[in-house]
Amino acid sequence: MNGFLFFLGLLAPPLIGYGLLDFFPSFRSLHWASRLGLAGCLGALLLCAEMLLLTSLHVPWSVWLLLVPAVLLPIRRRRPRAHPEAVERKIRDGIPALMLIVLTLAAATYAAGTGRATSTDLLFFWGAKGQRFAQARSIDVGFLKDPAHLLMHSDYPPMLPCLYAWSALVAGKFAWGAALLSLPVFLTLAVLTFYGFARRALKVREALEQASLLAALLAFVMIAGYTAGNAEPLLVYFEVTALSALIFAADRREGIPAAALALAGAALTKVEGIVFAALVAAGAILFIGSARRWRCLVLLAGAPALALGAWVLFCRFHGFHEVYALHSISRPTLAHLSAVLAQVGHQASYGFWFVPWIAVFILSLPGKLTRASLLALTVAVGFTAFILYAYLTSSANPHLWIGWSASRVLITPLVCLFFFATARVTAVGAAPDASASKSTDGTLGGTGSLEAILGGADGHGEGDLTPA
């Protein structure tokens, strides 16, 4: 019973965040799938923010107290419902892809549920923190500051421990087996969000086929990388949401705010999420033109900076400074360059001849090189450089560190390359159904890419084809 309630707690963020979507008028035009996905981002952010605030005010957490804003805020803000979505009559075309998605998610659930993808970091850090936070009904400062817990990194971003603590409060105790199911939960949310955004730019069948490919890609690397219970599934969910919004909807009102929310979530999930958010913001500067560039930058950089700033302030106030003490980071050395490259290359194969990389490489060959695709490519390259830089800062040979982590951190550049391929193909093949592309606020979803911003809302300009 505890496990079931814990699992329900993991499923709660989309329900908690759903009512809050009305605070963003532009989100009313979202496809139901991406609406649900974004609601999950909002719900997770709200829970994390409440937990931080209540801890700062020395108010013990409880399920009902944490639910108060989620219940009260939408009532005050009640607005006319969005127009119902046009029924997707062409879903029949996508049934094979839909079946593959369902089978993949079922396989991922089975793999996670039977301990086949368990990350031991769940036992060492993520779960231990979440369990302790739930017991203390606060972000337990004494626990984090204890020198015996040095290896847990006291000031590491708190999103996942907070979500685990929330689920433990719902269940009455921490359920280790149910925590593993965070993998299929966040994977499902990522695929749903992607489909919702892709559907605005692509036909049902193509959107579902792309979503099935993403589901299979993520399921494989997450299982092969032992990520169940770890923060990667949550991070990837935020990354997929941010990139989907930017690739398919940057020219629509909801695109940039949706990406900004997801980046805030990423920054609160892992240090890698902070780097990802910074790279996406930098990519926006490079590849978003026109007067809207600065507004986009403010949102894309501001939201994660605000979220992370609140956490860093909390840490500083309580005297934690480890991860963000930039002056204490070792300088990189080339002494282990060849070992790092060899080890990272070995881990990147995922034990099956680099199949995930080969798949995204082949799929990125056709299509057009657009600014949207270049944004995804820039983030992939930048993130890979960050990974190598991090390993090169190790004073000793980092082979153990790489063996432990590389297959997981490489998921982010792989996701970016998937979006690189998707953006290229989308630029050529975008032909959305009128029923799906016509949003409820009257705007038209076009090919759904950043280049539309360059030349204004009509999508004309230099961005359609930018040769390398």
């Binding site: 368990t118 031991t120 015996a148 040095l150 086929e209 799929l363």
Partner: protein, 145 residues
């Protein structure tokens, strides 16, 4: 639909099906179907020593040691940090007890731990503690007070 688009669709399907096949391959590689794992780590990290025996011992110790008691964890290997693997796993699996690293054994009298746990080949001998039980490959000691 143009020939190029058809080709792209076929390639996309081949990629998706290949990746799905790899998902199934990974599942098959990591344990027998329809057999419930002993612990959540049973089928994971086949390239590393299994955590199962230690996790099962911790489960038993959690049941036997009274809630609220302070417990010191002796590292399993000579080179292991006092706040390393053994300690962190005990911390997560025994939430009702106060888990302390082996360095706490240096404290004398009432401020020291009430219980000590050792597992596997970890040797422990201290006249301040009496042997209580041997369970699932580990040993439990209680302070003589």
């Amino acid at each position: 639909m143009t020939a190029a688009k058809k080709a792209l669709r076929i390639i996309r399907w081949l990629c998706a099906l290949s990746l799905f096949a790899l998902v199934l391959a990974e599942i098959t590689r990591r344990g027998a179907f329809l057999r419930a794992p002993a612990t959540i780590a049973s089928n994971s990290r086949l390239d590393q020593p299994s955590l199962d025996p230690y996790l099962l011992f911790l489960g038993e110790a959690h049941r036997r040691i009274p809630p609220g008691a302070s417990v010191a964890v002796v590292p399993q290997a000579p080179g292991e940090l006092a706040i390393g693997t053994s300690y962190l796993l005990a911390l997560s699996q025994m939430p009702d007890q106060t888990i302390l690293p082996a360095t706490s054994l240096g404290a004398a009298g009432a401020s020291g731990p009430e219980w000590v746990m050792s597992f596997g080949g970890a040797a422990f001998s201290d006249p301040r503690f009496r042997f209580v039980a041997s369970v699932r490959g580990g040993r439990l000691f209680q302070a003589v007070r």
